[in-house]
Structure formats: C-alpha cells, structure tokens
Symmetry: D2
Subunit: 392 residues, 4 copies
C-alpha cells in the first residue's frame, strides 16, 4: 500500500480527513474492555456525545457497525407488527430506509421529492393527518445529493402528531446545526466516519427520553437481536457509571479514538463548529458556481454544510475528472444517486479541515477543468471562495 | 488514560495482544473505501481468510460488527418462517444462540450439557433423527468455560442429515485446528479480536459453496436488513475482483489491519499455528494443575487450545485475585458463565504470543497464589509449563 | 499537548510536514541495531541517499545529530593545523561556519555579500587565486534569507584550484537541483528534517571519493572524536554490506523513517522532485509579489526553491502576523538573520507537499494581511499562484 | 521489514523495550520547534530529568547525538590545554574515554582493572594524590562487562581533591541507584535508549552547579563547536522558562517521547524504580548461576542492576546460542569486550519491563541450553528467578 505520499486530502462525504491524534489513538495497545481506564474513556465518550447532539436528556448508544446498522437500530426498536411508518424521502438513503423497513412486518409509506428537492411541508403534514404513523424518518443531509432538509421544521410538525421523529444525521451531525433537545427530535443517529471524525466502524445513536420510555414500555420482543436496545442499554449505563458490563465486545480502539475526537469537537464548541462548516460550505459553493458548475440541489436553501454536489463540467468524463483531482492530491467522490450517477460529483467538507483545505480543493477543481480544455481563468474559483472565507 | 506502563500482557479470551504492526496499520490515514490501493488490500484480506479457515470454496464476509452480529448473520440468512433449528449448547454462547434465534419465527431446540461438559454424540444424532432441522449451531470453543467441542465429529454427523452446520469459531478460528472444507462445515464465523489478531469491530464469516447456493435459492426475504448476505455478497465479490462497490462504508482501518494480521498468520502457516497454540495451552494447563487448581472443563479432551478456565485457588476473592495478576502486568478475565461466575477465572492464550508470555502468565498466577498465603513452591508451576514448552 | 487540531500545515524551513508513513515508521518497536532486518534497512537508506545526492561514487554517512554537527563533520575531517579555509558567506549560516571553524587551529577567511546578495564569482575566484585554501564552504540555500548560491558554478570554479568544496545543503538537498557527481562537489551535508523528510535528529553527509581518499591519507588525528569519519566509515561500510558493526548506537527509529522517506523520494524521481519544488516556489513567489510584498533576496535568480523570505507587509507586527497565520492553520517562521529579524518572515516549501498546500499558504497570507487592514482583493495572490501552478 | 511477529523481547543493554506510549509519541506530527506547546513539553522534560538524576541544582542538557557525543560533551567543556585527566577504566568504555580524550591537548592517565574487576579505591586515591587532575571519569556500569563501580564512593573520594567527577551513566542512570546531588557528582550523562526509555538519538547530560560555574569561568574557547555548552545553555534555559530559542533544530519527536517517558519514570518513583531493577537483576543472576553459568564480573558486589553478563554454557557457539534465544522471541546481545567477546553474552534488564519479562528471558536461556544438549532440568533457572521475584 505504498504510494509516493499519504498526504492526500480526502474530500469525500466520509470517511473524512481524521485528526492525526485520533488516528494515533487507534493504535494504542488494546486494553481489556473491562479495564477501569477504558471504562472511563467509554464513559467520557458517551457523555460527550450528548453535548455533540445537544440532547441533554438523550441516551447515547455506540455499537460496532456502520451507519446502515444505525438506521435499522433507530427504527426497529420502536416498531411493532402492523405499525405504519412514514419515510420522508430525499434520495438514495430514503430509498434505503424504505427497503430496510420493508423487511419488517410494518407498513411503509413515503413522501418523495424530485432529485435535488425536498417534499413540501404541506404534503408531510397532510400525510401525517391522513393516518396514524408510529414513526417517521428523515435524512438530514442526503449523502447522495447534498440536499438538506429543514429538520427543525420537521420537529415542529411532529409535535402536532403522536409520531416519533427519526433523523438520519449521518452526513450532518456534528457539523450542521442540530439541536436534538430543543428541536424535539426523538432519535438521531450517525456513523463515526463523518463529522464525528473517527474511522468507520461505529454506529452512534442518541435516543430521547420520550423515545426511550416508549421503548421500555414495549412488550413484544424486538424482531432483531443485535439491534435490540435492551441488550445495549445496561452496557451504556454501566460504562457511563464507571462499571464494567458485557453484551458484545465493544470496538475498544474505535471508542478510544471516539473519545479523542469528541474531546476535540467540544473544545472547538458546537456553535463555532456549525459556523465553520457553514462558511466552508458557502465558500465551496460560491467557487463552483463561479466556475460555471450547477448544483444537484435545486435551491440555495437546500445546500448542505457538509457536502457539495456539482454537476461535472461540460464534456468531462467522470473517471477522468476524478483522476485529475487525485493527481492534485484531492480525493472527491463520484455520484451516488442511481438516476444521475454519471452527471455529478461530490465534495465532502466535514471535520477537522480548514480554509486552506477548501482552497486546495477549489484549486484542484480549477486545474481539473483546465485539463478538459475549459477556459477557467486561473484563480476565478479561488477568488470566489476566498471572498467568502475572508469575510467570515 | 496514562498509566505507568502500557506493556501489559492481555491474557484474556479477546481482545488479545495484537502485533504492533497490526496496531500501527490501524493508524494509517484512512483512504477512501473506493481507492484502488484499499480495494487491493481488502481483496487480499478476503483471499487470505479463505486459507485461514481452510475453506477453498468458501465465500468470506467481513462486516463492521461484533461476534454477536456474526452469530445472527450466520443463521438468519439460511432460515425461513417455521424452520427448525438445533442448538448444541455448551454454555453462555449456546444460551445466547437460543435467545437470539427466539426473536425469529423459527422453532429452536437445544441439546445441552452440564457445565464443563459437551452433549454426547449419540444424543445429537438421535435428536437430528427425530425431526428435520434446517440448521444446527455449535460453539467450537465456549469462551465462557473453555470447553471445546469436537467439530470434526459434528461435521461427520451432519453429513447424514440435510442440516446445515454453523460453527461459532469466535474463540477458536485461526488458533485451534479447523478445516472447514475437509470437515464439511457450512458456515463458520468469528470476530476480529480473537485469534485473527485485529482489534474488535469486525464480524467475519466464511460460507461454504453449498450454504451460499442454498442462500441464493431462497425466495423469502431475509428478516433483517443489515444481516442480509444479499447486500454484502456483491461487495465482497467486487473487492476480491479489484472493483469498487458500495453497500455500507467498510471499516477501512480495521480491514487494513486485518490484511496485516492475516498476512502474518499465513506466514506462520496454519499447521505451525495449530501446533503452537496446542503447546501453549498444554503448558498453561499443566502448570495450573501442578499448582493444584482444577479446571472448569470436566475432561482432558475437552480442554481448549485458546483458553484455560481454572477455578480460583481456595479462599481467593475473585476481584483481589485478578488485581494481584494485574499487579504483575498480566490481565486475565473473571468467570462469565452466570452459574459459576465467581468460582473461576479465564486465561486466554491466542494470537502472536509465545512461550515467554506463557511463563510470564504462570509466574503471575504463582505469585498471586502466594499473596493469598498459599504454599506454592516458587517455580513449581513454571517448571511444569517449561517441561511442556521445552519438549515440543 | 492537546490542541483542537493537529492538522496544521508546517510551512517553515524545517521541520517540514512529514509523510504520515514516515511518522508511523518512527513508532515501530525499536529493533536491535544489529538485527538483520535493521541492517538491511540501514543499508537501503545509505544506497538510496547516494541517488538523492546524485553522487554515484559518494560515501554516505548518517549520524545522530543536527545539521550543525554535520557542518563540523564536513570540515574538521579534512583540516590540519594551519590550513586555510574560505567561507563563502551569504548569511546566518555562513557566519556560523566562520564561528565554528574559529575553534580549530586553522585560518578562516570569508567572502561576504550584503543581505540578500551572494558574493560575486570574480571575488571568489580572485580570493582563491590569492592564497592556497584547503577547502571552501558554501551554503546552497541560506535558511535565514532564502538566498540561493549557484553551486554548479562554485563547483566549476573549484576545479581550477586544489580546494575541496563543501556544500551546506541543509535547506536545499533533495529539493533544489543538485548533482554532486556531475558538479564535482566534494562534500555535501544536510539534516533529516528538511527536504529529506524525516523528523530532526540525523546529520547526513555525502563525501566524494576524492575527498574520502584525501581523508584516508591524513596522518594527524582529527581534532574531535564524535566527528571523526574514521569512527564511522567502517560502520557505514558494514551496514551497506549487510553486516553488523558498532561505534555508537545508531538512532534506529530515525533510520527506519529515513529509509521510508528516501524510498518515497526516489519513487517520485529526482528530476520530478526538482521540477515540483521549482513550480511551488515560483507560485509562492509570484503570489507574495502580487500581494505587494518585497523579498529579502535582491534578485530573481537568487530566489530559492525551498524557502521564500518576504518582508512583512507595512505596519504588520511580526508576532501578530505569525499568529494570524497560525489562526489559519498555517505555521510560517519569523526572521532569523539578526540584522533584519523583525522585518521579514520565512515560508518553507519542501518535501511531500503539493499545490493545494501552496494555495492554503497563500490564502492564509492574504487573510493575515486583511486583518491588518490592508486592501488585498481576496484571491489576488491566489490567482497569481494558481497561474503558475496550472501552467506547469 | 516484515516478520511474523514484532512482539519480541529486546533484552539487550540498549535499545531496550520502549513503552508503546513512548513509541506512539514518536509518531506525532512534528510541531515547530518554537511552537508554544512544544516549548512546554521540552521544558517539562528538562525539569523531569533533574528529578531522575536526583540533581536538584543540576543543569540538564538534551542534544541530538549518541552516548559517545555525551562522553565528549561531558569532558571537553571542562578542559583546557595541558590539563590532566584521570580515567577510571573498567572496560570498553573506559578505553573509549581514553581514546576520545587523546584527541585533545590534555594529558590522560588511567587506572585500570582486570576484566570483571574495578580498580581498588586505594589506587584511585593514591593516583589523585600523586598529581593534580582537572577531572576524572568513571563508568557507572560498563555496558561491555556488566561491572558496576561504587560511584557513591568515588564521589566521596573526589571531595578530598579539586577534581571534577564525570560519571558515564549510560547503562545505569534511571535504573541503578544514583543520587547526583547527595553523592556530589559533577557531571553525569546518559543516552536516551537505555533506562531513560526513549529510542536512540538523544545525548543527555546533567551538570552540577559547581561544574557549570567552573565552565562559565573559562576564558579559553572550547575546542569543539557542537559540544560547546555555551551554545546550548541559553537554549536549555529558554525552553525551561517557556521561551523559544535556537541554536540547532532540536530532535522534536525524540523530545516529545522523552517527556512521555520521563513522566512515566517519575510516576513510578525513583526509589521504586531502583528497587524493581535490583530485584529483576538479582532474579536473572540467581537463575543463570543456578543454570551453571559463571559471570564476567568477578564478585557479587560488582554485579550491575541493568545488565547481566554470563559466560556461554560450555560448548555453545555464540551465534547459534543467540539464534536459539531469538527463536524464543528474546533478543540478547553478544559479548563486546574485545578480549573475551566470544566467551560471554549480555542480557539487558532496564526500563518498562517486569517480572514476566525476566521469566520469559530465563525460560529462553534454559531452552537454548537444552538445544545444546545440556542437561538443564526444565524450570530450574525459572524457579531460582521466581524465588527472588516472589520474595521481593
């Protein structure tokens, strides 16, 4: 796995550029999962997550698995046979939620929007009024398209109904403004490799007191063993209380890394963090616009703070374009949404990155475009980005 | 998480002492999960696992999760509503399998043995004759008691029935003799933090061609999304073929570490590895016997190669005993089986350890016993261990 | 030593941004200095250095110490009592050479230039004609001012005299064009933390066959023990031949890191490397010029490829300016030359960095200037840099 | 540099087994040597060293280099032309000191002892009385033979003369009892890779107030530039005061590792540390004696706490014996003293090792002996070692 340089800029929507200190934490000789110092570390990570999610009364869960596991955990624990579920679908991960839930003996209904759009508030409200839904799911930022949903608004709507709100925060949490407590979100989940800043392998959930109470009242067993919160709850309690406990061996090194990263996130402060991500996003978005590229999200207010999804410049072959970017030491991702996969690319901008990384990325886009013979005045995109960055 | 020394010997049945090179691999700046060099690494890890499991026609699966997830994946993919399952129960993890399967609409029957024993062959055969079982599960080595089942024999029995054999290899694979192909085992699974030698976070399965064919013929959807092999199969195929593919973000750093560890395992060679573990186990077991400690497993032939489970010496308080061991820099585990939890401890001896580590462990047991006022001639246990180690 | 992010860009003239793989090599469990695999690694590093210095018949020396130690080793081994030495002085490190040599019973003469200038060829030639010098020293790039001497030309002059040419390559070797063999340079030395790309702690010398022969003919003992090449030569020979040898314990981990870095340098190729550094330098220099900053080196052809030394913008307090840069995650260095220390800063651009790092640095300079109220159109410097970077 | 396992036990007299946390510190992205947080780290390391040397009024120096550089620094700074020096020679490193000093315009006299012996007190005293010596050097523990000098006694003698006492603590400091202040030692030096517990590359000196005053009074320049304490003193002062300073780029990563290791040393406490090393040494020495091996040091009271130097068992070929040890995962060193090089080997036992490591080493010696057909009852040496270890 040698290559000339490992100093690449990983500007994809996860895994992201991790802090070297977090990576170093990964290589600590693994302690026993019941060692007092590890118990303390795990406890601190859990307490810290509560602040990251801004969920004062939330119960965090950290489990070995991917974001997809978190999707499953976040829903099946609250569902019984015959329940109705509403999926607010804004793309690939909305489709996945519908697919995932179809395995279970529940009824799934979706409100969908065209690519690059979000379903209108009125439609969501109307749908909720039309039937009794146990829960609804919404993707805060769709990793496939860069479309952001106004989750605060969804929380507001949900208050009028007896429906649990499940937020897929995978491409948003710890970067995009999110206040689980204030906004009345019942469950939010993410995966470690996004703005949480830890290599992939952790599914992370934050369950509100209301949702946890609802869970604990259930009588029917959860239709899935690994996902069953009943298995995990005593473990999370124990670690937070400083006592050993066992259900499955926790991913010790990833959790040590999580504590390291959460500590740094809180040192920055959530408000600073939201602001930094907003500025970086606006800078990238101003730059690509200046370079003549259009965006997958249809409206300005749908643009995410964590990811930018521009269409390829005219005439650019996807693989070649991505290769040109890589030549500049900047890794961006191709399209993911099956219908338009070949038409756009994705720039992730999350975690411990800074203005310099944004400029490096924009510079690489400019250079890639020039290699396609496009007449991009050198620095045009950079100036647009810098305009935003230096006025913040 | 400072302590005077990180040079502790972690002699528990997982996580184990990992090779420093494997730990260093954990800290590599995470590449994209679709980067060509990572694809190559993942492909090599998969190919290597086939040799570790000695399953020439097997299909490996590597998924973010714990061993418990692997238990679920290894069974639910092969079950349909109403199927019958036989659990060969030798302790804690047999109980867990029964509990896990009880969530699903299948019928679970168990053959059980007393603590420290295994169910007799005749009883297993008789039970299989009495009904039609879709699959049976067996724990190769029960991490809770150190009892080893003769899995080759189980494979032999299974040939007479149309029942899939699922082996929980968590505390055995890559250390205890196991030849999946030759022994006709349909599915074997393990977790990374045991003899595979990688920090916790990976669920690893090897599915025989027969079992995979059976899976692919199924028409009913799997009753669990994250566990559904249909989601993972194309991904595993693609990585092994050198092509990118996506279902869920793979735990990139753990997989880089897996390749590193599997490379070292194969460099040692499976036969050497089986022999080394056998010798180390016999040495520990001779030593504790010489020191007057009795074992949880009732008979010599049930003693595992990966773990030794002695009863505490008379009068020793569990927590104090474990603390005395820790004072010597050797971490061993307390009991796990709920019925006898306070009566025994567990010494893991898996992975990249050597004779010196065995002596260090035995020396620590001797010293802990002396601190309880037990008259252990210094070096008595050591001499017994060394007798085995130096005649091998 | 916690800080919010370790992802800083270290744009000082050493230590530089090291490749993560090189840093990881630093943390390998230290093998014995006589272990066969370490001997191999050391041997490979030595062989590789010969290619980096382009000194086919050179003898490399790698010794624990700093660049200053290398200065001493590079001269005292070739001097006897009463010898005359010529120091071609272009700044701080020329002064240091004169100071260093004044300890020894030799006669030191200097040709000096004003700050930002180099002594004229005619003066050097004339001086050499005026007396018989055993050796002359020249600083390829003066780390204090960013002035580059035409070393090829110095080599050409030297051919007409029986004077050994000692090149201080600390801020040049492995980045700036240098062909020790072709140019007839007798000794060149550097330190690990510059373009060689290894954390500080290694003094590295390359001694030509002619100089080594001259050394081996000497009869008087070297007036310094640690510096005496006679102690080190058998060790270097032995390691390169694959045999153990001992004089002083080699800095094992740094040498493992050296092999890693040298391997990457040669993978890039020296010609590519010279070109990359040239382009990066020209881009930084175009940018700072565009931003209205003047340079310490007086003429275009004196600008180094490894470092740029601009004067602070009008009105900028040095510490505040450097602090503003740090706020942007870019570390640059203050002035070093005592006479003008408070008037300029230094940007290092060496090693495994790329165009993106250049843009990040220029962007930070722009932002720092704006914070001083200077009317810098955002992106003006970036556009200038990008103009160079994208035409290369 | 792949091998099956990196989990080797490095039982040579340096480099030693480093703590994983120290190795991890080596891989931190190198900060600027003038970064505030690095300044703090360096300052803490210096302050900590004062406690390790038990030299309340001492001035520490930490310089890139090996122990041999430290030898030179520790003497040349206190010598003027024509001075007389007494070398108390107990082996290889006494010879080296005489050789080293012979480069300088001083007069060197030696008191020598046979191999495995130390010069008698009376002879030392008598020699000092016979002439006026500026300084005398003594090797606390000779790495080549394992002979320990009673340095407290040397300090006592020195008080009667106006002679500076320079202690080579390379194989002793931070492990063997040493109280620089109380014992009135003027200069003590060591290298990082011994009991200080940091990979090789640092020369470390502790200079008493008296010696420093003497140095500062000198008028003649030091006959060596890199070694001149005048260059280093302001730097050490500045770092300890929390201010940046520059003479030569400090070996940043090694210094970060030094702070980590010194912190752990002090956490253990010097008295505990002396006791632990004493016990480990006595255990190894009891074991090799029990196995019938004789020691290079001629008398019990000359045995070091850091190294044991037994003669090879009868008939054992050196390379084969060392190879057998390596097969067991234990690296020991061959002989170093030229006169008896092929007759003995050396076991280092310094730093963050424990009783288990001692047993592992003894076990390996037993097994190596058996492979030579020697009738060593398995566990005989182990029992002897364990007898000591468990009575402490």
């Amino acid at each position: 796995m040698t290559k000339i340089s490992e100093r690449e800029l990983l500007m994809i929507p996860g895994p992201i550029n991790f802090d070297p200190a977090v990576l170093r934490a990964m290589s600590r000789p693994t302690p026993s999962h019941t060692a007092p110092d590890f118990i303390e570390v795990f406890g601190e990570a859990l307490k810290g997550l509560r602040k990251v999610f801004m969920a004062e009364d939330g119960q965090p869960f950290v489990v070995a698995g991917s974001g997809t596991l978190a999707m499953e955990m976040a829903t099946v624990n609250f569902l019984a046979r015959g329940d109705k579920v509403l999926v607010i679908n804004t793309g690939y991960f909305g489709d996945r939620y519908a697919d995932l839930l179809s395995r279970y003996p529940v009824e799934v209904r979706q409100v969908r929007a065209g690519i690059g759009e979000v379903p209108p508030t009125a439609l969501i409200r109307e749908t909720l009024e039309g039937d009794s839904y146990k829960l609804m799911t919404v993707t805060h930022v769709d990793t496939s398209t860069g479309v952001k949903v106004d989750v605060e608004n969804i929380g507001r709507i949900a208050r009028d109904f007896d429906t649990l709100t499940i937020v897929d925060g995978v491409c948003a949490t710890a970067a995009t403004e999110f206040r689980q407590g204030d906004w009345g979100i019942d469950v939010c989940f993410t995966a470690s490799q996004k703005a949480i800043g830890v290599p992939p392998g952790l599914a992370i959930l934050m369950v509100s007191k209301k949702a946890l109470d609802r869970f604990q009242e259930r009588t029917e067993p959860v239709l899935n063993f690994y996902c069953d919160l009943k298995n995990w709850l005593p473990v999370m309690h124990a670690y937070e209380m400083g006592r050993p406990s066992y259900f499955a061996t926790p991913p010790v090194n990833l959790i040590i890394a999580l504590r390291e990263s959460v500590g740094r996130i809180l040192e920055e402060g959530m408000e600073n963090r939201f602001k930094r991500h907003r500025t970086m996003a606006r800078a990238v978005q101003a730059a690509v616009k200046e370079l003549g590229l259009t965006m997958v999200p249809k409206r300005q207010e749908l643009l995410a703070e964590t990811i930018t999804a521009p269409h390829y410049p005219g005439g650019a072959d996807p693989a070649t374009f991505l290769g040109y970017m890589k030549d500049e030491g900047v890794i961006v991702a191709g399209g993911l949404h099956p219908e338009i996969k070949e038409k756009y690319f994705r720039i992730g901008h999350m975690g411990p990155i800074n203005d310099g990384d944004i400029l490096a990325t924009v510079g690489a886009v400019e250079k890639a475009m020039r290699r396609f013979g496009l007449d991009v005045g050198p620095g045009k995109g950079l100036a647009a980005a810098q305009g935003i960055l230096s006025s913040s």
